[in-house]
């Protein structure tokens, strides 16, 4: 077992980027902007990444790189990562790792499992190919069943992985598979594109500098389709997402930044404005275009102004703090 070294004692980064509206509380510790230092009550994200048998050297290298990229990108937001690579990734090791997660996780936590490699489907069972006996989708479902965390994400980037959707289905669990069903048996490209997305600016649709599982999935889904179209090949995989993947952060494109005490009020305002924009977007149908865009502009102008103040603070904190104190005094 390779314990991804830097996860223990991770400081829960608090970002300037206050949680966007679609990121639910607790899905990632970092979304709790004001929760500064780590505390036992702070929600955590625990992630297990497993790379299975490659069969051929080229696949083995690719799967290992995918696992490494997943672990590396998830590590930054303060997620606890366990990485099992080909030789160590036996059925027992996977089970033990999940048992460990079961013991540690609380309801408010999030659990993410990502599997990279080859999968098979015999018409009844999906199997993830590892050294020794292969774990089935039913095994994974059984091992995950006692996990207390309400938010669970399982990503299976293997051939035939669509067959795992049904066994893994559970309320509160999001399941992403490389294929629509078990009959898509060819080696899958999805995992490569998924891990590409984890630090790709182009995948960051909402520009919050973080990559949600939803964003990574959409990026990879499109890339897979584009590949087959460009190569004029028959499409042998159709990625599938069941659940709310927007609840999980799986990568980022910029390092997180701590919110300094002097600008907490600005960070709070950013969050309020972001939420107000989401609320306005939800009401769009009942507004005229003119009214909608006028209100949107007002909110965005204020957001832009606050954003500038935050940037200015990064450049010259003392000056901004002084200005803030003057504001408070007034």
């Amino acid at each position: 077992m390779t314990r991804y070294a830097r996860h223990t004692g991770t400081v829960l980064a608090v970002w300037i980027a206050i949680a966007a509206g679609h990121i639910g509380q607790g899905a990632e510790s970092a979304t709790n902007a004001e929760a500064a230092p780590s505390s036992p009550a702070a929600p955590r994200t625990r992630m297990l990444v497993v790379t299975g048998l490659g069969g051929e050297a080229e696949y083995a290298r690719a799967f290992e790189a995918q696992g490494e990229a997943s672990a590396r990108n998830a590590e930054a937001p303060g997620t606890e990562v366990t990485l099992l690579t080909e030789g160590d990734a036996t059925r027992e090791a996977i089970r033990d790792a999940l048992v460990g997660i079961v013991k540690q996780s609380a309801k408010a936590d999030a659990v993410i499992v990502q599997l990279y490699g080859h999968g098979t489907f015999d018409g009844e069972h999906y199997r993830f190919n590892v050294p020794g006996p292969d774990p089935t989708a039913a095994d994974l479902a059984a091992w995950l069943a006692p996990v207390a965390a309400r938010r669970q994400l399982v990503v299976i980037a293997t051939s035939a992985s669509g067959a795992a959707q049904e066994p893994l289905h559970q309320e509160g669990r999001t399941v992403i598979t490389a294929t629509r069903h078990g009959r898509e048996r060819d080696a899958s490209l999805f995992g490569g594109f998924w891990t590409d997305a984890l630090d790709a600016p182009g995948a960051d649709i909402d520009k919050d500098r973080r990559i949600s599982a939803e964003e990574a999935f959409r990026f990879a889904e499109r890339a897979v389709a584009g590949f087959y179209e460009d190569q004029q090949l028959m499409v042998t995989e159709h990625p599938r997402l069941e659940g709310d993947a927007g609840l999980f952060i799986v990568g980022r494109i910029a390092p997180s930044e701590r919110v300094e005490p002097g600008v907490v009020h600005l960070a709070s305002r950013v969050e309020e404005l972001t939420n107000a924009i989401d609320a306005l977007k939800a009401d769009r149908r009942v507004l005229t275009d003119d009214d909608y865009f006028a209100r949107l502009q007002d909110l965005l102008m204020e957001l832009a102004t606050v954003d500038q103040q935050l940037k200015a603070h990064q450049q010259d904190p003392d000056e901004v703090d002084a200005a803030f104190r003057e504001d408070v005094d007034r």
């Binding site: 182009g202 500098r209 460009d230």
Partner: protein, 737 residues
């Protein structure tokens, strides 16, 4: 043509089954209703072969097919019945089945002339060179065979040899067999039309014999079509269906040719009539389906250009297409003294199958695009990419050059010369034109030709200019069409080199005046075609001097082996040797990217850039390579060069969003916000994954253009998607300052 073939075959049948069918056949000419009654009576004839003929004559091909099967089962050794069954398949467009039955007939009777001529007709329909050989063999063994003479006349006329064709028709025109005589008259009429002598006296004479003989006009139309004179073909086909309203093949051909001159509504009506009468014509079915799908296309009508494009592509391509067409018309038009005063119609097909349906029926059409007079049809870059060798922008330039040469000569230009000018203009003035290295010597001064062309010259496989059209219409070896295209381009290059650019215009003028190739070259250049061939060969000797394909291949292979060992000094040496043995090669096996890679790995960025600049100047257009070059140029601060390379890149791969975005960025940085805006709009139309970023870039361009309302709209759209988008927030403040 098919109907005439059927008539020919019917004549065969008259010999084989003369007694029961003869009367009905005779009545077909004089009294159609009586002929119908006659055939109906024959449906109860005890002979299955006769029942088959009767059902076929009455238009019930399924009954005819079943009856032929019965006849063959009853007499499996009867070659004549198999030939007739094959003829039935041929008439219903099932050419492979027909070919098999003719083969079976020949297995029974190797000397069966009807079967051999059946195979010749199959080859004729496919524009295969073996058609001529089969007919020549039949005539060698049977010098008086009239049906063979008719096919020989047709073949001669297809390559423009009207004198040979007329000679072949002499005997059939004297035949006692009315049907053979009628077909000979049809071909005689075609000769007259091609010679510019219309109407032909044969028309009245044939209609006197057979007032419903629309096949004559169908034959005339066929020869107009293969010489690209679609308007004349339409007139002939209208006459064909006027005298023979149930001649469904003529309705079909009329519909397809109306499409070629952009008369869509009339085309649909003609095709619908053809389909109502003959539902087995796959060409008609496909074209009608295509027309249905075209209903949802964007039609962008301008004074100079009318574009018909798929809505998914028009936003990304229409700007480039319009600009290319306008530039090509102006540039090529000026060089040849003819600028059309009508708009050029361009249709781009994202699915190659649709393009094929739209263009079917033209011999030796090649695969890149086609110009029907002022209507240009092409695969769009979505159908095939630059990696597959399809430089769509250059191909469009090529087709527009056809519009010029066809228009300048009223479609009288020969195939080889029209292709030659188009190819030559791609090389000289097109968007992927060749830029010579001033310091280069020998073959390095010229654009590289495919190795096959060099070899065709060295092995004396190039055709004499007087018969070069045959290389397009009925190629005799694989790759001859490609060789012929390049030979034609090289001939024009040679003429411009030896006689001046104006000589090419004089050749065009001569064609316009009705001269054939021999006459055109003699009048424009003052020399016989044989002298042109001789001087051209000498020109190619010099142009190809030093090119050593074997040494090139060996050096490239060596470079690949050395690269696998990371010996980059030796790789560079091998790649340089490859470039010396085959200068300016920019195909998939080009030495320049290899050379660049080797230089880069040795830390010689300057040399790497130089290698790729040569690649680009020589016409190399691999997107990966150009992207690398542009990046290096930007790194070196050569932004102007980088921008020029990015323009090439976006042009060859215009549906790649990233290419359009980066070009837009380069243009914006270079102070060209209007052009940048067009690139960003194109990118946005391609539905980019990162929509917020696309709106942001549009907002930047509009802001630079002081078009504040649009700038504000797009920045709000960007931020609506991504409220935390810092650059966009900053721009919002800037816009609202």
């Amino acid at each position: 043509m098919r109907t005439v073939s059927v008539l020919l075959a019917m004549a065969v049948a008259m010999v084989a089954h003369a007694d029961p069918l003869g009367e009905c056949r005779q009545l077909e000419i004089s009294d159609r209703e009586a002929a119908r009654t006659c055939y109906l009576d024959l449906l109860s004839n005890p002979s299955a072969a006769i029942r088959a003929e009767a059902a076929w004559a009455l238009g019930n091909v399924q009954v005819a097919n079943r009856a032929f099967r019965t006849a063959v089962e009853a007499a499996p050794g009867d070659a004549a019945v198999k030939v007739r069954w094959g003829e039935l398949f041929l008439s219903t467009y099932q050419v492979a089945d027909a070919e098999a039955l003719f083969g079976e007939a020949l297995a029974i009777d190797p000397d069966n002339v009807a079967a051999r001529l059946g195979l010749a007709r199959v080859a004729l329909g496919r524009f295969e060179a073996r058609a001529k050989k089969i007919v020549e063999d039949v005539l060698a063994a049977n010098p008086d065979n009239l049906r063979a003479k008719l096919l020989a006349a047709r073949l001669a006329l297809e390559v423009g040899d009207d004198e040979a064709a007329a000679k072949m028709l002499e005997a059939p025109l004297e035949s006692d067999d009315i049907r053979l005589r009628l077909e000979a008259m049809a071909l005689g009429a075609a000769i007259d039309h091609l010679r510019g002598s219309a109407p032909s006296p044969w028309e009245a004479e044939a209609l006197d014999i057979h007032p419903g003989y629309g096949e004559l006009f169908e034959t005339v139309a066929h020869f107009y079509i293969i010489t690209r004179r679609y308007r004349e073909a339409i007139t002939a086909l209208e006459r064909a269906v006027e005298v023979h309203p149930t001649l469904w093949t003529a309705h079909a051909t009329l519909g397809i040719n109306l499409l070629r001159v952009n008369r869509f509504d009339e085309a649909r009506r003609a095709l619908t009539r053809a389909h109502d009468g003959d539902p087995y014509n796959v060409e008609v079915v496909n074209t009608l389906r295509l027309l249905d799908s075209l209903d949802g296309w964007d039609a962008l009508v301008g004074d100079d250009v009318i574009l018909r494009m798929h809505p998914d592509e028009s936003g990304a391509l229409s700007g480039y297409v319009r600009r290319l067409v306008v530039d090509a018309v102006a540039t090529v038009g000026e060089r040849y003294g003819y600028v059309p005063d009508y708009p050029v119609v361009v249709e781009l097909y994202p699915r190659h199958q649709d393009f094929a349906v739209r263009t079917s029926g033209l011999p030796g059409i090649g695969v890149l695009g086609v110009a029907f007079g002022d209507v240009v049809l092409m695969d769009s870059p979505a159908a095939r990419s630059i990696e597959e060798g399809f430089d769509w922008a250059s191909a469009l330039w090529h087709e527009v050059a056809h519009v010029i040469t066809l228009g300048a000569t009223n479609n009288l230009v020969s195939r080889w010369f029209s292709e030659g000018v188009s190819v030559f203009e791609e090389w000289q003035t097109g968007p992927s034109r060749f830029h010579a290295d001033e310091a280069a010597q020998g073959a390095a001064r010229y654009r590289a030709m495919p190795i096959g062309v060099v070899e065709a010259h060295r092995e004396a496989e190039m055709l004499p200019v007087a018969v070069l059209d045959e290389g397009f219409i009925r190629p005799k070896y694989p790759g001859q069409v490609m060789v012929s295209y390049n030979q034609a381009g090289l001939l024009c290059e040679f003429i411009a080199h030896a006689y001046g650019q104006a000589a090419l215009s004089r050749v065009l003028d001569a064609y316009r005046d009705g001269r054939d190739t021999v006459g055109a070259l003699e009048s424009a250049l003052g020399v016989a075609p044989e002298a042109v061939d001789e001087a051209f060969a000498a020109y190619l000797d010099e142009r190809f001097a030093g090119i050593d394909p074997a040494a090139f291949e060996a050096a490239m292979e060596e470079a690949a082996n050395l690269a696998s060992k990371d010996d980059w000094v030796a790789v560079a040496r091998s790649a340089r040797r490859a470039a010396e043995n085959y200068p300016n090669a920019v195909g998939p096996n080009s030495p320049y990217p290899v050379l660049a890679d080797a230089a880069e790995r040795q830390g010689h960025r300057h040399a790497a850039v130089a290698a790729l600049m040569r690649y680009w100047h020589a016409g190399g257009r691999s997107p990966t390579t150009l992207d690398r070059l542009a990046g290096w140029l930007d790194d070196a601060g050569r932004h102007e060069d980088a921008l020029a390379v990015r323009r090439s890149l976006a042009l060859v791969a215009p549906l790649a969003i990233e290419n359009r975005m980066r070009l837009g960025d380069g243009l914006l940085a270079a102070g060209e916000p209007r052009d940048a805006l067009q690139e960003y709009l194109a990118a946005k139309s391609l539905d980019p994954h990162d929509a917020a970023d696309a709106h942001y870039r549009l907002a930047r361009a509009y802001h630079r253009l002081d078009e504040t309302a649009d700038a504000r709209r797009h920045i709000l759209l960007a931020l609506e998607i991504a409220p935390r988008f810092e650059d966009a927030l900053s721009l919002l403040l800037e816009i609202n300052e």
